[in-house]
């Protein structure tokens, strides 16, 4: 009962309220509130993620699984970021600085530590460049994917590839010099592309709304698990 009926009830009520706030202006505040609550729960749930991450890597270390040494890197980076993220906010370094004499060795150490634990700097110099580089790998993968489609030689893949080639050419200055390419690109984007996109969007809208309804009514309840 508490394990299955109550969640289904919560799901139904939350769904009905969120659905009706679209039509009943005095309820719009509920929308803001529910969104904020969901964000809070998500943020706190990160703790569960943290536990899982630490468990997976300590287990790899314990089992001495393949590549287990790299787990030290992850665990170290994780701890380092958490320490940096919390120490700097609590103004620890301000207190440390106040406690040591100007020009002393201590001050030098404190300054060095402060620089090394600068949360934002680590973010900028480690996370951002790796992120940008991972993203830029797409330039290579988009080429290899095109080649894969080319090799596939099915009707669908050929059609996809031809449309892709034309639109790609139509987007670069060199390709636009070929007569007709620019016009065909505009036509492809405006006519077949628009039409098909609408078809997909309408389908997705219907599928999503139907699944949402089934979730609210408890017909779709795999996420709750089968047993109590």
């Amino acid at each position: 009962m508490m394990r299955r009926q109550v969640p289904l009830l919560i799901c139904f009520v939350a769904g009905i309220v969120m659905l009706s706030q679209n039509f009943i202006p005095p309820l719009t505040w509920v929308y803001q509130q529910a969104l904020e609550w969901a964000r809070i729960i998500s943020a706190i749930a990160l703790f569960i993620g943290l536990i899982s991450l630490v468990r997976v890597h300590t287990m790899k270390l314990k089992r001495k699984a393949a590549n287990y040494r790299y787990s030290y890197v992850t665990l170290f980076a994780l701890c380092y970021m958490i320490i940096a993220g919390f120490l700097t906010k609590y103004g620890l370094f301000v207190k440390l600085h106040a406690g040591c004499d100007t020009g002393s060795a201590w001050e030098w150490i404190v300054t060095a530590l402060e620089k090394a634990l600068n949360f934002q700097e680590i973010f900028l110099n480690v996370q951002i460049p790796i992120q940008a580089t991972m993203f830029s790998l797409l330039a290579f993968y988009i080429a290899s994917a095109a080649f894969r489609a080319f090799k596939a030689r099915t009707f669908e893949a050929t059609l996809l590839l031809i449309a892709a080639m034309i639109v790609m050419l139509g987007r670069v200055p060199l390709g636009q010099m070929i007569p007709g390419v620019k016009e065909i690109t505009v036509w492809i984007l405006d006519v077949p592309n628009t039409a098909a996109k609408r078809g997909i969007m309408i389908g997705v809208g219907l599928g999503m709304a139907s699944t949402s309804l089934k979730i609210m009514l408890g017909i779709e309840r795999t996420y709750l698990g089968m047993k109590d």
């Binding site: 939350a14 809070i40 729960i41 706190i44 077949p192 098909a196």
Partner: protein
């Protein structure tokens, strides 16, 4: 070595570590990957604490906004997941999130993906008093939308007329996918150019 210079070197070396994956998996990539996972998970955790939990939950509770007890309770239930015996309590919090998401999506998607799509189809279909090619394009859009929808029919086999129309739908779909594929290529190449510029300009100072 100044901190800034150290930062640039670090960023450049990590960039190269990631690029090395294109050749094959190797220790440099493994190092960068594991570092990235740890740093990003830690960053996200701290970021969410300082930008969500602290201002939106703790500060509100400290200000005696008691309605925030509810998200607090639901969050606590969520954390019960870590204790096997009472783990089922987390379903309450999950049900709240799924239910409110579902209620919201029904209307949002019926409006944006259904009504508005019909409206824009009808707007682009207005056939009165326009040159023949505009009317022809409108007709093609009509055919594209309808055949696309027929492709997504589930309760009818794709044979006979339905099959034929669905086949036309597939043609439209593939041209559409090709178009967005081709449209994205340049955007992706410019990302690569951005990284190359960082290596050659910011790091090596060659350009």
């Amino acid at each position: 070595m100044s901190l800034e210079l150290f930062g640039t070197w670090l960023a450049a070396l990590l960039t190269l570590c990631i690029f090395s994956f294109l050749y094959k998996d190797n220790p440099f990539y493994k190092f960068a990957e594991h570092l990235f996972v740890g740093v990003s998970a830690g960053y996200w955790l701290c970021y969410n604490y300082w930008n969500m939990v602290k201002p939106n939950l703790i500060d509100n509770l400290e200000a005696h906004n008691w309605e925030y007890l509810l998200p607090l309770i639901l969050s606590a239930f969520m954390l019960m997941r870590l204790i096997p015996k009472v783990g089922w309590l987390s379903r309450w919090a999950i049900a709240f999130m799924i239910g409110s998401g579902a209620g919201l999506m029904i209307i949002t998607y019926l409006q944006s993906n259904f009504l508005e799509q019909i409206k824009s189809t009808l707007v682009s279909l207005d056939p009165t008093g326009l040159p023949w090619y505009v009317v022809l394009n409108s007709f093609l859009i009509f055919v594209g939308v309808v055949s696309g929808l027929v492709y997504f029919f589930f309760s009818k086999a794709h044979t006979g007329v339905t099959g034929g129309v669905a086949r036309v739908g597939v043609v439209f779909l593939m041209v559409c996918f090709g178009a967005s594929f081709g449209y994205t290529v340049m955007a992706r190449i410019s990302l690569l150019i951005g990284r190359m510029y960082f290596l050659l300009h910011d790091w090596l100072g060659l350009v």
